[in-house]
């Protein structure tokens, strides 16, 4: 498919043209912050208009693009109790035509993990709130050139320049131009809209080199190959490492809510008077009440068990159920964890344990 060159300072023009072509444009944007030493920079994906500031190409946003496919809260339908009758009203599944710009490779790869869960590939149930949004969304991804200390995409089969899941992929070259690669039909449409800004056929060699140079900057390198077989050995479920590494976890949901692939949710009725909405909203396996039965029985009773579930979810459950990893190596759960619980330490520990057969030591306190 087509490749081309785009000038980086034409990105604002790209936004103009896409807006004019009736796309809702989403891009990463730095958020205003208060003065004083206690605040840090935060960038999130937001709907932007022509002329709005954005920070495409400047680091990995604090949170990903998940909210535009799977919002943190959304109504499922409205109900009204009328005496003995109930009237239900469907929510609209008509979503705006959307383009998300400047999506990092890990984030654009995460879409496939979400799709595995929400689409009818999973047990035949199609969550159209997700899939219809996905149909309407085009992803313009952007290679990383400056991965940070927490990035580990290369340890989960991705790379700072991977284009898995992308419709149109851009790579910033050392000369400041962008190498553009059209990947899908949806990407072709974007290319057509911005055609006036595209020239030539890009520089495939420089793009390749930029990818290699970026990958070399990644310092968190883990061998993920031994993880699946080790986790699949049920005997290791009671290994001492789970408690040792996990007991400091405080059970907040920061790691799961920042994670681009975490998909867990709860459903609740929000009532006012005789009517209301049934609402789906993000939930987390790190919360103590997540698996609490009405009887009081909790199937994951300690915090380390909840993090064990999280690690298994990413590296075993996803593999077993969907045939892919549930982690794209974005490192957000590392950056955001208040107690520096680091998923790559689990990866390293497992690789270490897997390398020494029979080194497994059962935890005496484990029931």
């Amino acid at each position: 498919m087509r490749t081309a060159t785009l000038q980086k300072n034409d990105l604002d023009r790209v936004i103009d043209l896409l807006s004019q072509a009736d796309y809702r444009v989403i891009a990463p944007q730095n958020q205003p912050r208060l003065d004083g030493p206690d605040s840090i920079d935060v960038a999130v994906f937001k709907e932007i208009q022509s002329g709005d500031s954005h920070n495409i190409g400047e680091g990995l946003s604090t949170t990903g693009i998940k909210p535009f496919l799977f919002p943190k809260d959304e109504p499922l339908f409205a109900y009204e109790n009328r005496g003995k009758k109930v009237v239900l009203t469907e929510v609209s599944l008509d979503f705006p035509k959307t383009v998300i710009l400047g999506v990092r490779p890990c984030d654009v790869a995460s879409v496939s993990s979400l799709d595995a869960v929400f689409s009818d590939k999973n047990a035949g149930f199609n969550d159209e709130l997700f899939t219809k949004r996905l149909e309407k969304t085009t992803f313009v991804s952007y290679s990383c050139t400056e991965p940070d200390v927490s990035c580990f995409c290369t340890s989960v089969g991705l790379a700072p320049d991977s284009d898995k899941g992308s419709d149109l992929h851009m790579t910033e070259l050392p000369d400041g131009t962008l190498h553009v690669e059209v990947k899908t039909k949806a990407g072709e449409k974007i290319a057509a809209v911005i055609d006036a800004l595209l020239s030539g056929d890009g520089d495939a060699v420089a793009r390749q080199q930029a990818g290699v140079a970026a990958a070399e900057k990644i310092t968190r390198l883990r061998d993920s190959a031994p993880i699946l077989p080790w986790l699949q050995d049920l005997g290791n479920f009671g290994d001492e490492m789970w408690q040792r590494l996990g007991e400091k976890c405080l059970g907040c949901g920061a790691c799961t809510f920042e994670c681009p692939t975490c998909h867990c949710f709860d459903i609740v009725d929000e009532n006012s008077g005789n009517k209301g909405y049934r609402v789906k909203f993000w939930d987390s396996c790190q919360f103590d009440h997540f698996t609490l039965h009405a009887s009081g029985h909790n199937t994951r009773n300690s915090q380390f068990e909840r993090y064990r579930n999280r690690f298994n979810c990413k590296f075993k459950i996803y593999e077993d159920v969907f045939g892919e990893k549930g982690c794209v190596g974005c490192g957000r759960c590392i950056r955001g964890c208040p107690v520096n619980l680091d998923i790559t330490e689990y990866m390293a520990e497992v690789a270490h344990k897997a390398a020494i057969p029979n080194a497994m030591s059962a935890d005496p306190d484990f029931e």
Partner: protein
Amino acid sequence: MPNIYQPNLMTIKKVINETPDTKTFHLVFQDEELQENFEFETGQFGEYSCFGAGESTFCIASSPTRKGHIECCFRKTGKVTNALFELSEGDTIGFRGPFGNTFPIEEWEGKNVIFVGGGIALPPLRSVIWNLLDLRDKYKDISIVYGARSVADLVYKQEIAEWEARDDVNMVKTVDPGGETDDWDGYVGFVPHILENDFKPDPENTVVVVCGPPIMIKFTFEALERLGFKQDQLITTLENRMKCGLGKCGRCNIGSTYVCIDGPVFKAAEIDLLPPEY
């Protein structure tokens, strides 16, 4: 088409007070075509809503052989079940389903079948019990071992009497020590104990279906294994916390097994391959 989270509406045709905190509803779809065409198999479950309170998961407690309505039976324990408990005949509830796998009743043809249930866990068994009784000549001996904390906690008292009266069902009932009344005519003791020491079933050509709290399942399986039963003769249902019933909300998993998709019916051999998170 509504999205997969939007329930179908049903009318409560009948309410039966089983125990002071347990009720059975007889339910009919408000959409006539759906009522006509609705099908399920024994063992499957549904998501039942009380609008304004939310959704709760329970099995379909009636047998697929009995058309006309479906039944559910629940104990009030949380927000939703408390709200459902307040509803009366003629009221509307929501239903999503049927979800999950089913009891492999074809595999049991020509065999003796023993049902073992504890407390509120009789409803899933009730569905499959009636299913088998309605196909009675395909099966050999059918026995029901049912126990609850106390006489007051026994559900389906009417049907227990009906099963006791039948000569093609062997009905064994028990209550936990201290839960008996003066006129109690059943056993006194925990289900696994009664099973192992009084009922003593013969493993030959027999399957056992056990439903109850996790701890009861564990002890019952152990007792049955001591009696010579093999793992592939033992079947149970697991009830992890569920929300969506669709494999999406992520809360019912036991390792890589989603109870809402891969369950709720499991063989003992399958449970042995699961991490201890149920």
